[in-house]
Symmetry: C2
Subunit: 84 residues, 2 copies
């Protein structure tokens, strides 16, 4: 069966406060980095998938994003899939 | 000054064990997802940057990755920058 590599990127919705991002921003300022206006932190899951077709792999990755990886109240996610 | 959007993606080096990824894999199996072979979890930082040029923005994002966002012993990172 073909193998696919999927990356599911989970980010906080724009309306949700991000204290971790604020902490990174303040640390960057403390280290002397100029020009950083804002930081938002998210997570990424790299999946190796077995699927019959690319579109099946995309469906599987989206299902995993919806049901397991992202909290739909607070987070958005996006999916990128490539064949290996 | 032009504005740029940078995404710094931090992933564990391949030789480093990833218990969080293993937990996600087991949770996926428990939810009945077939075809997931492996999961590795990382983090992503979305930055809004002020910089004079695209290459300056890329340098700034790479500096932030090296000095603040990634632990070079255990993690790799990649940088994508687009002009806003």
């Amino acid at each position: 069966m073909p193998q696919y590599r999927a990356r599911v990127t989970v980010t906080l919705r724009p309306s949700i406060l991000d204290p971790q991002g604020k902490a990174v921003l303040h640390a960057a300022e403390g280290l002397g980095f100029d020009g950083v206006q804002s930081v938002r932190v998210g997570k990424v899951a790299d999946l190796n998938l077995d699927a019959a077709t690319l579109s099946e792999a995309v469906c599987l990755a989206q299902d995993l994003g919806q049901k397991l990886l992202a909290n739909p109240v607070m987070e958005d996610f996006s999916v990128d899939v490539v064949e290996l």
